[in-house]
């Protein structure tokens, strides 16, 4: 087995890669690693990296700046790791490194060996000198199987991945039979990470069966769920793991053509993938004669043009063929009859990126993580009203409470947790008393939500659940492809009812009608989009019916969020004389000065943006929000001439 040609070829490639890495990185040279994925760049990481380069050159320090992918700790971007072996400290993680901080860290840490304790998050490894980040729940509760290399490696460098043991799984697989791979994936019990949780091994078996002359593998990277971005991060931070999984899948099912369907809205992911494919082809890891064997795989990119429904596999295939992305009836499943009538395996980015892990660690070890029915880990993007938002990889079966409170730090400020939305527009909202639900495919479906692609939005008490349902329905109404009536018209009518309720013009019978429509749309639609579109409505009606009733009966929004039903006013008891903080920030000049030189809000001008509430200094805390709107006390605006101070 050790003498298989693929393994010999890989050993040679790996030795060359390790030599290249050593040449690029002189031993003992201090290194600054800046995370440069889309979220890091949005937080200003490009300026930070540039500031480090400039400061290092100016100070004449022997150090280098490297770029890595994303570690998933989006709350702390731009995130920088400084490894300065000569200082005696382990590698240290610094959060929110602005260009100014970059200059300071260069001078003190790289120059003088003082790591500036007050600015660090902690050391990346346990040690005796300084606290380590592993003491935080955000770090030590995670179990990174798939995202292990994200943020550690340079995504642009295939040498990094090879030197780190990458493509070892592919070499091992090529030394054995395709059937063995399918069997291993089946034995591992891997379920598709795209949301529905279909057993991957079963899908591969279907596609590999029979004697088709041509088979395709398609990687679904059309991450359309608003609020989910783990596929983007995986591609931007470690594209080769996906390519390796894709090649293994192609070998297992006997395909020689692979297509990666990636959103055009992710320009950096597209660029990263393009260069990764070219690099892998140049080393003989993709293309004809992979790793010196007879196996050939041609990988191409297809840029999706922004249609949510194209995440559905049959719609995706229509789109690749150059048509409108409308779903078709299943069966036949694409695994039997897909692109051009040939068997086509369609797997999500996370599913494919998990494959090398399963091959390397073995099916047994993979099954040891997670729950019996949902083995392995799940990657969530936890966002919204939460202290430490970002990507979290946890074993399946961890409860929502652990995920939101122990790992991500809970709800910021003194606000109360209200609900968590899981699975995007197809998922549902779960209330506080369901926080002990474990995250796995079946438990979440039972509660009325679904795993979906793993977007998890935490909402605090100032979120209106009716408005959330309205928001998702507006999204699905816009994204419905229009093929079947229930989805096309049903979502329109449901949205109209929800909009009416949010305006305070709802009627009690609307709730009944909404429920009936939701059930009809669910039962009558062809594809996953329509069948799951009513989920946000059904779950909010089930768990937050009181909020619907408050909107209809009292014209009151309990979350103080629906703007037609709320008003801002200034508590004159608390307002300070002569303070102008709220006047300057009002975008519509609705704030005026009263005769007592305190402030009032002109309700006819106010757009309810809440800026004055943010601007009012905490020691006064005078801006109040109230629902129903007519309860706001009226403060007379003095005539223009008098208002002058």
């Amino acid at each position: 087995m050790t003498e298989a040609p693929s393994i010999r070829t890989l050993d040679r490639l790996r030795a060359a890669a390790q030599a290249a890495c050593r040449a690029r990185r002189p031993e003992g040279q201090p290194v600054v690693r800046v995370g440069l994925a889309t979220c890091g760049i949005a937080a200003g990481a490009l300026d930070t990296a540039e500031a480090f380069r400039k400061a290092i050159a100016e100070a004449g320090i022997d150090a280098r700046v490297e770029t890595t992918g994303c570690r998933g700790h989006c709350y702390a971007e731009p995130l920088v790791v400084i490894d300065h072996p000569a200082s005696g400290f382990p590698p240290i993680l610094y959060p929110e490194v602005t260009p100014g901080k970059a200059g300071m860290l260069t001078r003190f840490f790289l120059g003088e060996g003082d790591p500036r304790f007050e600015h660090m998050l902690g050391a990346t490894v346990a040690n005796e000198l300084i606290p380590s980040v592993l003491e935080f729940g955000r770090f030590n509760r995670e179990q990174r199987l798939v995202m292990d290399r994200c943020g550690r490696l340079d995504p642009q460098s295939i040498d990094d991945y090879l030197a780190d043991g990458g493509y070892g799984a592919l070499a091992r697989v090529l030394a054995g039979s395709p059937q063995a791979v399918v069997a291993a994936v089946g034995a591992a019990g891997l379920r598709g990470r795209g949301g529905a949780g279909f057993p991957t091994g079963r899908k591969w078996e279907l596609a590999a069966a029979g004697s088709a002359p041509l088979r395709y593998v398609v990687c679904n990277a059309d991450e359309g769920d608003p609020g989910a971005y783990m596929d983007r991060t995986l591609i931007e931070s470690n594209p080769h793991q996906l390519l390796e999984g894709l090649a293994i899948c192609a070998y297992a099912v006997g395909a020689c053509q692979a297509i990666i369907y990636v959103r055009a809205e992710y320009p950096l992911a597209v660029k990263t993938l393009e260069s990764a494919i070219a690099a892998a082809e140049a080393r003989g890891l993709l293309g004809p004669e992979v790793l010196g064997t007879a196996f050939a795989i041609q990988v191409s990119l297809f840029q999706g043009s922004g249609a949510f429904v194209c995440g559905e596999e049959t719609a995706l295939l229509r789109s690749v063929a150059g048509f409108r992305g409308t779903p078709t009836h299943r069966p036949p499943y694409p695994a039997q009859k897909g692109l051009g009538g040939h068997p086509t395996v369609i797997d999500n980015v996370k599913t494919l990126a998990t494959i090398p892990v399963i091959v390397e660690r073995g099916a047994e070890a993979f099954r040891a993580v997670g729950t019996p029915d949902s083995p392995g880990t799940a990657i969530f993007s936890v966002v919204g009203d939460v202290v430490h938002p970002g990507l979290v990889e946890i074993p399946m079966g961890v409860t929502l409470r652990e995920l939101i409170f122990d790992i991500c730090g809970g709800v910021p400020g003194k606000k109360r947790f209200k609900a968590v939305q899981i699975g995007g527009p197809s998922g549902g909202c779960l209330p506080a008393d369901l926080l002990d639900t474990p995250v796995d495919f079946d438990a979440l479906s039972e509660a009325g939500a679904m795993m979906g692609s793993g977007g998890l939005v935490v909402m605090d008490e100032h979120t209106c659940m009716v408005d959330v349902a309205r928001y998702f329905l507006e999204f699905t109404r816009n994204e419905s492809c229009g093929k079947c009536t229930f989805c096309r018209l049903g979502t329109c009518h449901m949205l109209a009812i929800l909009e009416r309720i949010c305006r305070g013009q709802g009627r009690m019978e609307d709730l009944e009608r909404l429920e009936r429509l939701a059930r009809d749309v669910r039962d009558g639609s062809l594809c996953g989009l329509g069948r799951t579109a009513p989920n946000p409505v059904l779950t909010t009606l089930r768990y937050f019916r009181d909020e619907y009733e408050a909107h209809v009966v009292d014209q009151r929004c309990p979350g103080l969020s629906c703007r037609p039903l709320t008003a801002f006013y200034i508590d004159l008891e608390k307002c300070a004389r002569g303070c102008d903080a709220c006047v300057g920030c009002c975008p519509v000049d609705a704030v005026f000065t009263t005769r007592t030189r305190k402030k009032g809000i002109d309700q006819s001008l106010c757009v309810k943006c809440g800026e004055c509430m943010v601007a009012c200094p905490p020691e006064y805390d005078a801006v109040r929000r109230i629902s129903p709107a007519h309860l706001a006390p009226v403060i007379e605006r003095p005539p223009a001439a008098e208002a002058k101070t």
Partner: protein, 187 residues
């Protein structure tokens, strides 16, 4: 608002046809290439000029209406030229929860246009997008290629002012006899 003097006049119809013909000729005559062709046209022209539909249709042997049907199905394709500074407001779930719609309204008010429109001087255009995948930085606005995280209504005016100042500076420098003389210092 001031018109940008450095902007070229809009291309004439023969010019557009020539550009489009050049793009289309790079592709094989296969139906599967329809979306990539449209993407290439938009990458070059920033939108799909009306001439695109019949031209691409002829290339692939399908009706112009069929091309339009596909192009209008996907959110990516635009049928009107965007502004020089396209502004896109993210209204994904996280941005919605963090009041992204208020940011959008502020841009609408400051620019005097509605979402989906372009200002009369073609400087700014305003669009909403479903999600750009920067949810931890919500609410997010994208001006040109730059992503601005943690937006606030009061930041909107500053952003627009910054663009205007940069433009006026560029105009002054262009007007100066030797453009190299002045150091483009940051502020």
């Amino acid at each position: 608002m001031l018109l940008n003097p450095s902007a070229a006049p809009p291309p004439t119809e023969p010019e557009v046809l020539e550009t489009l013909g050049g793009i289309v000729a790079r592709f094989d005559r296969r139906r599967a290439l329809l979306v990539p062709i449209l993407q290439a046209v938009q990458a070059q022209c920033a939108y799909l000029p009306p001439e695109t539909m019949p031209l691409v249709g002829r290339h692939l042997g399908i009706a112009a209406s069929e091309v339009y049907g596909v192009a209008s199905f996907y959110n990516q394709f635009r049928f009107f030229p965007p502004g020089r500074h396209p502004i896109r407001i993210c209204l994904g779930t996280a941005c919605h929860v963090k009041a992204g719609d208020i940011i959008l309204e502020n841009f609408e008010r400051k620019l005097g246009i509605q979402e989906g429109q372009t200002t009369a001087d073609r400087e700014f255009s305003l669009e909403r997008v479903a999600c750009v995948g920067c949810c931890a930085l919500a609410p997010v606005a994208i001006v040109g290629e730059t992503v601005h995280g943690h937006m606030q209504p009061s930041k909107v005016e500053g952003l627009l002012l910054q663009i205007q100042i940069a433009r006026e500076k560029a105009q002054r420098e262009a007007a100066a006899a030797s453009p190299q003389a002045e150091d483009p210092s940051d502020d």
